[in-house]
């Protein structure tokens, strides 16, 4: 398992990131943590629909997101709101998505993020196609996609890895092995719980990384992205992490797992670990932290206000965008719905 930070945040040897990068990484972690905490509390107030938190998995998401270049694509599952925020998804849109408002899917033009995927693992072949299109068009973009430990059991995982491998497409697969697929622990999901071990079968590099170590996640993902861009083909990165929160806000994890396990992982909080590094290097202090968190909360509150102002959908919009040009059935429905 690749690691640059000890479980307690002590530095294990030379850090391959600059001080500026370390601070940038830390700020990114805090930013997505604030979103996550606030989203959960909004949901509790009934101001958000169901929400899939990623508490504890921030580094596994932020590292790969930071590793991407301007023109690269992010192909997330439903779990990666954090990665999407770092790649430029406006906060208010992320909120609208989780509010089940269509504006939450209408990303700004040119943002190379596809929307969150609900059907597990179906995004993986799309990431291969997107990557392949870049090669064909002479673009040098890379497609980076996320999937869970549970998702690695789906046939799509296998088919996508095989396609990417045989054609050497510039695709980076990041598995967030967070220990659970809702109530099913990784040990009941697979026998060999090291998912990176599957890479060899496809003939691609596979690497297991401490997913709660931002430095490791960023550096390994950056290497994979660069290799892909240089024509070196796909990489399978397995991020060992843990879902501290419920599966979604509708889930009650006490039905299936012990608090002690959660506590053990809480000790390996990716933000705490990186903060300790910044502390040790004198790059960030408590005051800065407090000020930054305050800013983030203000930003978030503004995003909430902006989201609240999103226009109501008209009923007839239900049947728009089925085709570019409405068919007769949509047109008929449109007429009926407009009268409602």
């Amino acid at each position: 398992m690749i690691q640059f930070l000890g479980g307690d945040g002590r530095i294990l040897g030379d850090l391959p990131l600059s001080h500026e990068e370390l601070v940038r990484g830390y700020r990114a972690l805090q930013r997505v943590r604030v979103f996550d905490e606030r989203a959960v509390s909004l949901q509790r107030q009934g101001r958000l629909g169901v929400y899939a938190p990623y508490t504890g998995q921030e580094a596994a998401q932020v590292g790969p997101a930071l590793a991407l270049g301007e023109g690269d694509w992010l192909v997330p599952s439903y779990r990666e709101t954090g990665a999407a925020l770092i790649r430029g998804l406006p906060t208010y849109q992320a909120l609208l998505y989780w509010r089940a408002d269509p504006a939450g899917w209408c990303y700004p033009d040119g943002l190379r993020i596809v929307p969150f995927y609900i059907p597990i693992a179906t995004q993986l072949p799309h990431a291969v196609g997107i990557a392949s299109a870049g090669s064909y068009l002479g673009e040098d973009w890379v497609a980076l996609t996320f999937v869970g430990d549970g998702g690695s059991s789906e046939g799509d995982f296998h088919e996508a890895l095989n396609f990417a491998a045989v054609w050497g497409t510039p695709t980076v697969f990041v598995v967030q092995n967070n220990g659970w697929a809702i109530s099913v622990p990784t040990e009941s999901q697979m026998k060999n719980t090291c998912i990176a071990d599957r890479a060899a079968g496809y003939g691609v590099p596979g690497v297991t990384v401490d997913g709660n170590d931002l430095v490791a996640m960023w550096v390994v993902a950056r290497e994979a992205v660069e290799r892909a861009r240089a024509g070196g083909g796909p990489t399978l990165i397995e991020a060992m992490t843990y879902r501290l929160a419920p599966h979604t806000t509708s889930d009650d994890p006490s039905r299936y797992r012990a608090d002690e396990e959660v506590e053990r992982w809480r000790q390996r909080d990716p933000i705490e670990r990186l903060r300790r590094v910044l502390d040790d290097l004198g790059l960030w202090d408590a005051e800065q932290d407090a000020e930054f968190l305050r800013e983030l909360r203000v930003e978030f509150d503004e995003a909430v206000r902006r989201a609240d102002k999103a226009p109501e959908l008209e009923p007839q919009e239900l049947v728009e965008h089925v085709f570019e040009t409405m068919g007769p059935d949509q047109l008929e429905a449109w007429g009926v719905l407009r009268e409602r």
Binding site: P119, G150, R255
Partner: protein, 353 residues
């Protein structure tokens, strides 16, 4: 001819249910749909060692809707268990169990997650008996929550019964009431053929009715007249039955009596009951929440256009989802899913057009 003759049970028994094991029905309890289904699984596990219950999050957690709640603790991890996250695998694995003599009852977490399993369903579940002229059969039940009305994320409110009903060799059952659901699920598990059992999410906890304890079977393949009327026949199933009942109540207040038919089993279809009703009323509205085009309601309307053409005094109107994906957009969901208002508009149409 080696296959037995099908006799619509409704015609034998006047639509009432068959209580196979009346002794055991010592008492009744008031249960919601989730509880009634849980009870059915419990009874099936209890009385037939060949029954296994499995799916994603079914073992430890009892399923995301808790239909299998407590069953692993009671019947053991060998009989009630979690699977890896792979729906084609779940159905394919179940087919293997059934080929070797067991009675698998698989849960697919939401009906939309049947899609990855459709190859196993279309290529094997419905064909194995036919392929082998009865040498190998697949007495398997696949349960899945379906339909809208309780705002779910994208895809989670899909109603794919129209796809399943096109697959020869599989049966499709969609209950609308806890008491019926228990008897139908027990009959599905008892059935020698593969059965899809779709459960309306909207109904899971919406009402509680008296449900007998122990084992009883409601035979598959019988539609029920759930409300008598003479003006228009409303044909529905699953989550749309309560919508039709509500419409019928409203209409009744205006002196118009609607007859409501709950198909319960889509395949094999008890069309006789529909036909008898439409022959009486002369008018029909078919209600379903899947997109209108190609949905199962088209089959009902098509049969009426054939067999009831000279009995119809008005058009057969379908009230269905629009030809668009079921919206995951919270604010407009209720404009998509048919409601009593739309049913009543259709009733007006068939009465006046």
């Amino acid at each position: 001819m080696s296959s037995k003759r099908w006799v619509p049970i409704s015609s034998r028994l006047g639509g009432s249910s068959v209580n196979v094991d009346t002794q055991q029905q010592t008492s009744v309890r008031t249960l919601n749909l989730v509880q009634a289904l849980n009870d059915a699984l419990d009874v099936a596990l209890e009385q037939d060692r060949r029954v296994l219950v499995f799916g994603e999050d079914v073992g430890r957690m009892g399923g995301v809707f808790r239909v299998a709640d407590g069953l692993q603790a009671k019947h053991g991890k060998e009989r009630v268990f979690d699977t890896p996250l792979a729906e084609a695998g779940i159905v394919g694995y179940g087919i293997g169990l059934a080929l070797a003599g067991l009675r698998p009852v698989a849960e697919i977490q939401f009906a939309c997650f049947l899609y990855p399993a459709l190859e196993q369903i279309i290529s094997h579940l419905g064909r194995y008996r036919h392929r082998t002229r009865g040498r190998f059969t697949i007495p398997m039940v696949v349960r899945a929550p379906y339909g809208g009305g309780v705002h779910m994320p994208e895809l989670h409110a899909d109603s794919p019964e129209g796809i399943l009903a096109q697959v020869p060799g599989v049966k499709v059952v969609i209950p609308s009431d806890p008491e019926r659901a228990k008897g139908l699920l027990l009959a599905a598990i008892d059935d020698p053929d593969p059965v899809f059992f779709l459960e309306a999410i909207k109904l899971y906890r919406s009402t509680r009715v008296e449900v007998p304890e122990g084992n009883y079977l409601h035979p598959l393949g019988c539609a029920r007249v759930v409300r008598r009327g003479d003006a228009v026949s409303l044909v529905a199933y699953g989550g749309m039955v309560e919508v039709c009942m509500k419409a019928a109540e409203v209409a009744s207040r205006e002196g118009v009596e609607l007859e409501v038919i709950d198909l319960e089993t889509l395949v094999p279809l008890d069309f006789d009951t529909v036909l008898a009703s439409v022959r009486k009323t002369g008018r029909a509205v078919v209600v379903y929440e899947a997109p209108r085009t190609g949905g199962f309601g088209a089959e009902i309307a098509a049969r009426l256009a054939d067999e009831a053409i000279f009995d119809l005094d008005g058009p057969v109107v379908r009230v269905a989802g629009w030809d668009a994906p079921y919206p995951s957009f919270a604010s407009v969901e209720h404009h998509y899913r048919p409601d009593a208002k739309r049913v009543l508009e259709a009733v007006r149409q068939v009465l006046t057009r």
